[in-house]
Symmetry: C2
Subunit: 241 residues, 2 copies
């Protein structure tokens, strides 16, 4: 089903039993396509299942009354977009597809069963919701304290790293990032015009080139340093949970 999900789960805890992975895999519904810019989960709703991205990109966001919008997370293949709705019940934000996606869902009933009978898998799922929270803390740090170029550099480092976990990118190689500058700006909390100027500045400094949906990192060391990027918060290491 979702190879990416299983790869992601196993990468953080190889001691998780095959049986647990199999049960999860068997509980996932059939993959279904979603066009770009379509709602996947709505704020205020009470989902009865949780959804995984099988391919494509999606984001969480909240909006203010006058239309100001803030992205709260970017999600790619292997990511649960609303696993937290299982313990929380009510969605406090919305999720929308950014590109054409395929998605797959697991019933909350099955999650209930997992929490009732598979403590290890439960802890691993819990952990993954907390990795999302750790990412959120970085985004808050970046939004609150970093300049736009530092912030952009950090987000690109983060996405590049997360994509490597599910084999959507390789170190040193250009990778596909199918986001418009407007969408990127909503993630950073800056205007589209300023995204453009920021990317121009990165180009001028020979840090990276982002053109036609392809990011080529020219100077990884300088980029990482500018971003003060340290992937510890992504909990990439394998460890019994």
């Amino acid at each position: 089903m979702s190879v990416h999900l299983l790869r992601k789960l196993a990468s953080r805890d190889r001691s998780l039993s095959q049986k647990s992975l199999q049960f999860l895999s068997d509980s996932m519904g059939a993959a279904r396509p979603v066009a770009a810019n379509r709602p996947i989960v709505r704020v205020g709703s009470r989902p009865r299942q949780s959804t995984v991205i099988v391919s494509g990109w999606a984001c969480r966001y909240s909006m203010l009354a006058d239309g100001r919008r803030q992205m709260l997370g970017l999600h790619l293949a292997g990511d649960f977009v609303d696993l937290h709705s299982f313990p929380l019940k009510v969605m406090d934000h919305s999720v929308v597809s950014l590109t054409a996606c395929t998605i797959s869902s697991i019933e909350h009933e099955s999650l209930q069963q997992i929490t009732d009978s598979d403590p290890h898998l439960t802890r691993v799922l819990w952990m993954h919701t907390l990795i999302d929270a750790a990412i959120l803390r970085r985004w808050l740090l970046s939004t609150g304290q970093r300049s736009s170029i530092e912030h952009a550099a950090h987000l690109i480092c983060e996405l590049h790293t997360r994509m490597q976990v599910v084999d959507l990118a390789a170190p040193g190689a250009p990778f596909e990032l199918p986001l418009s500058q407007q969408q990127f700006g909503e993630a950073l909390g800056i205007s589209t015009v300023h995204v453009n100027r920021t990317l121009a500045e990165m180009r001028a400094r020979n840090l990276l080139v982002w053109r036609g949906g392809i990011v080529e990192i020219l100077d990884p060391a300088a980029l990482t340093k500018l971003a003060e990027f340290d992937p510890t918060y992504l909990s990439l290491h394998d460890e019994p949970r």
Copy 2:
């Protein structure tokens, strides 16, 4: 032990058994005092227990190399400050006391035992880490999109609401908020000087008065409207989890 913690847990799920609450309560170590501005958990550490605030205030934060600092959460009586370190293992940020506090801890061994044998309590603990994440999303929305006065209004509404859950405040009554303007600024991601001007503006608009550590909300309706505050994200309702 920590009455506030038990009150907080029960308030979101009254169907949680007395036995579960009792076990948790029995697992908590003795309360111990911590002076103001003392580290409670350090970034990069691997805690072997998780800590609850019994009284006083603490915060999470991350710092950039040049000293810029961002608060990532504010915690009061009844809050776990590092429950997420149980599934995540390594701290991705630090926690420090803001006022004199008393704190109490539970061994990760006991949490392991809870996840192995008490699915219901496990889900409730999971939920509480996710409420922290929901709060984080609001902070990101505020930091990214709201003006300083809207942001300040939102944070004050949030803290007032959270304090009511553990009886540290009552609707309509002034309440104690023992934070300096500098600390408040680190939470909002704005400079101390601007915090002062923002609070002056709120006073001038007859929204609230904050003096000598006491906040008096003069116009709750206007404040809530300015903040676009909707407490849904705090999952305050009682519901089986």
